[in-house]
């Protein structure tokens, strides 16, 4: 009994000592773990806050036309899914994304393969080809509008040489998507090319030397060596381009504001119109949240596939 009482006393004394030592530790040292994670925490809140409020407001009838708003449950969501404008916007978003990302990926890789060899000519071309990337997409669209102008545009003058006059470009429903995709292609292909070029320049030399000794054709080398080794870069470029194309707003807005008719009304533009031009933020947010969800899941799948590919390559 006496021993256990002594032990108790000893433990209490130790705890007191620990507490006293604890008190002696400066506040900054104690707070260090929290301070270390503080920027990450603030960043997370900064990301989550607008996202959380967007979800909240999508469940209200919030409108810039009124100070008051009330919770209306899933009414905005149901009305969006019942609206033919929503399904049309989804279709336009998919068409635009496929048209731009597909062509930009192929062309970006092709140009990078042509420019990978070192010479004064390719070095100069690399610099020139990234010029479009330095121009804001809206400005690029205005430049293209001038070039495509049926009265004074240089492209029109060129087409006139082949007997094509007054090509409708963005003013016709049948050619508006082509026109917007063409401008997107001009602006963003250099981005894909840059990534691919960086990838190609980082590839190991030895497998190519072996393939050359074994008499592998250029197509065989490209298909069995270059493409698999370049996969991580292809995935990165694909994720970035898919995300940006799905969200595209600037080029379409500057070109036709979604027209002619509703030809180019994608999810971003429909959401913007609902929210700002028509002042109904509650109705606009479901469109933008659907867009966010689609981008999130597609990107997640692509990144997952890329990581799996990396693990396979490393033999894990």
């Amino acid at each position: 009994m006496a021993t256990s009482a002594n032990m108790m006393k000893k433990t209490t004394k130790n705890q007191k000592n620990i507490k006293q030592e604890d008190n002696k530790i400066p506040f900054l040292v104690k707070a260090r773990p929290y301070l270390i994670i503080l920027p990450a925490l603030l960043l997370t809140i900064g990301i989550l806050y607008p996202f959380a409020t967007a979800i909240y407001y999508s469940l209200t009838d919030f409108s810039f036309r009124s100070i008051d708003y009330k919770f209306i449950g899933l009414k905005n969501w149901i009305s969006m899914f019942q609206s033919k404008n929503f399904w049309h916007a989804c279709l336009v978003t998919v068409q635009y994304t496929l048209a731009t990302t597909g062509t930009e990926m192929v062309a970006g890789l092709g140009i990078a393969l042509l420019l990978v060899r070192e010479s004064r000519f390719t070095k100069t071309l690399r610099i020139i080809l990234i010029f479009p990337l330095m121009i804001a997409p809206v400005i690029a669209t205005l430049i293209w509008q001038l070039m495509l102008n049926n009265s004074v545009g240089i492209v029109e003058k060129f087409l006139n040489l082949f007997g094509v006059f007054n090509f409708p470009w963005a003013s016709s429903a049948s050619t508006a998507l082509l026109t917007a995709a063409m401008i997107d292609f001009w602006v963003y292909t250099p981005f894909v090319m840059l990534l691919m070029l960086a990838g190609l320049q980082s590839l190991p030399k030895s497998p190519y030397e072996s393939a050359k000794i074994d008499g592998g054709s250029p197509w065989f080398t490209f298909r069995t060596l270059t493409l698999p080794l370049l996969k991580p870069f292809i995935f990165i470029a694909l994720v970035f381009r898919l995300m940006a194309s799905m969200q595209e707003y600037g080029i379409i807005f500057a070109l036709t504001k979604g027209g002619p008719g509703s030809t180019l009304m994608n999810l971003s533009l429909t959401g913007y119109n609902m929210g700002f031009a028509f002042s109904s933020l509650g109705k606009a947010l479901p469109y933008l949240l659907v867009l966010w969800a689609a981008i999130f899941f597609i990107s997640k799948k692509l990144i997952g596939a890329w990581l799996k590919g990396q693990q396979n390559a490393q033999g894990n």
Binding site: F64, I67, G259, P260, G261, A277
Partner: protein, 472 residues
């Protein structure tokens, strides 16, 4: 297990964020106006009654705004009121303004607006009723004559907040800086060279368009009109002609607004408009806004412009454009057999934020820049046009300035009596007119078998949009 814990944490964080956000929102009572700092009411009017105040003004980028900005130093000198302002291009102006007003922060104190925006802002309680100032003798300079404004113009800014009720009655929500009616402007050099008569009817206009195809070689076209996918396409020449055909946008049936865009008059008018676009419009008509239409007319690419009076006017002073000095105006062409001229009204005006904390100073600013003295200066020296005050328009100095523009005064006099807002006031104005412009683009693009089919579809869309509006 681990996954479900992460989901719980994620959901908890979301809930906490949303709750905290709402608590923060609730802690600032919306709509509360702090009048502290505003000058106390004084006996008798004095321009320096709010001396020492600072007001914030939001301007749309426009010659009217630029003229005011030039005069702000004089205003400050006379009143002792400092003015901070922002100038935003029209493309983004109303988005920015709507958000600022919705915040109820009182910033800006004053803002440029049009009448159609008032149909959104006034019911939301964003704009102050200006009658409270006008009816207070202590707040109005004795020389300020509110009856001097053209009745149709200032009436466009009065509304009783009831959807479906025409403008002209109820509180005054803004004061006009200038206005636009819609007329036909033409290049008299081109008309003289081609020995053409200026059209007075829509049928003649279509015939002249046939004559003027590529009048100056490739790249030139007969008629500049707006075509972009927004409300701006509907309200100038289109709505003017629409009303001249006797068509209306809505009627009220059983307390609901019912679209009339597929009525025989509306369809006949739209068929004529589509013909005009196909025969005489710019090849890229569907992207044309105010700026492109006016610029093509000034550059000599378009022989005519059916748009706001001032759009062509700004191209006519020496050095302003290639065709400066060659531009002339007539009243809008009418359908065969019609003699009464209607024109749709657009008014650039200035309104006061209901949440402003400097209402006295803001009112003095408003009064100063809508006074006859200032408005006369804005025409003679400030590159403005279309004064909303009768005395200003009739003054010799203004008449001398306008007389250098062939036909301008005659077109103004012929059009002003019938100039009013031809739309039915309703809170979904921007959505219905944007849909209208989109349908017009679809019809021109051939996406409908007939104009009737397009307008039938538009009627359905518009009826759905305004279904929640209770009209009287």
């Amino acid at each position: 297990m681990k996954k479900s814990k992460s989901i719980k944490i994620f959901v908890s964080v979301l809930v906490i964020l949303v709750l905290s956000m709402n608590m923060m929102a609730c802690s600032t009572p919306a709509g509360e106006t702090d009048t502290e700092g505003d000058a106390a009411a004084v006996e008798g009017f004095s321009w320096d009654m709010a001396s020492g105040s600072t007001i914030k003004v939001m301007f749309n980028q426009h010659p009217y705004a630029e003229a005011i900005i030039k005069k702000i130093p004089e205003f400050t000198e006379e009143t002792g009121i400092e003015v901070e302002y922002s100038l935003t291009p029209e493309e983004n102006y109303f988005d920015k303004l709507t958000i600022a007003l919705n915040s109820r922060s009182g910033d800006p104190d004053l803002f440029m607006t049009g009448a159609y925006q008032i149909w959104e802002y006034a019911p939301a309680g964003y704009t102050a009723d200006l009658d409270q100032f006008l009816n207070d003798p202590n707040m109005v300079d004795p020389s300020y004559d509110v009856d001097d404004f053209y009745e149709g113009i200032i009436g466009g800014l009065r509304w009783d907040l009831k959807a479906g009720h025409k403008i002209g009655t109820g509180p005054l929500w803004a004061l006009p800086l200038g206005f636009e009616s819609n007329v036909l402007a033409y290049n008299k050099r081109v008309f003289d060279e081609m020995d053409l008569e200026v059209p007075t009817t829509m049928q003649e206009l279509l015939a002249v368009c046939e004559e003027l195809k590529e009048f100056g070689g490739p790249g030139t076209y007969p008629l500049a009109i707006r075509g972009a996918r927004n409300w701006g396409t509907i309200h100038p020449g289109y709505m003017t002609t629409y009303s001249n055909y006797g068509a209306v946008d809505f009627t009220i049936e059983d307390g609901k607004l019912i679209s009339q865009v597929n009525s025989p008059e509306a369809v006949e008018m739209t068929e004529m408009w589509v013909d005009l676009i196909e025969v005489g419009g710019a090849p890229s008509w569907s992207s044309y806004t105010w700026y492109q239409a006016g610029a093509d007319f000034g550059a000599g690419k378009a022989a005519m412009l059916f748009d706001a009076t001032c759009n062509g006017y700004f191209q006519n002073p020496e050095g302003a454009s290639e065709e400066a000095g060659n531009l002339a105006w007539v009243a809008p062409p009418l359908p065969e057999g019609k003699t009464e001229i209607n024109s749709n009204l657009w008014t650039w005006s200035m309104a006061m934020n209901e949440a402003s904390k400097n209402k006295t100073a803001a009112w003095l600013f408003l009064q100063y820049f809508t006074s006859a003295d200032y408005q006369k200066w804005s025409i003679t020296e400030g590159n403005c046009v279309d004064p909303p005050r009768k005395s200003v328009f009739e003054s010799q100095e203004v008449q001398d300035v306008l007389a250098t523009n062939t036909g301008y005064i005659e077109a103004f006099n012929a059009t002003v009596p019938g100039t009013t807002i031809q739309f039915t006031p309703q809170p979904h104005f921007f959505q219905t007119t944007t849909e209208w412009a989109a349908t017009l683009q679809d019809i021109v693009a051939g996406n409908y078998d007939s104009v009737q089919e397009g307008m039938d579809q538009l009627k359905k869309t518009m009826d759905e949009i305004v279904a929640d509006v209770e009209a009287e």
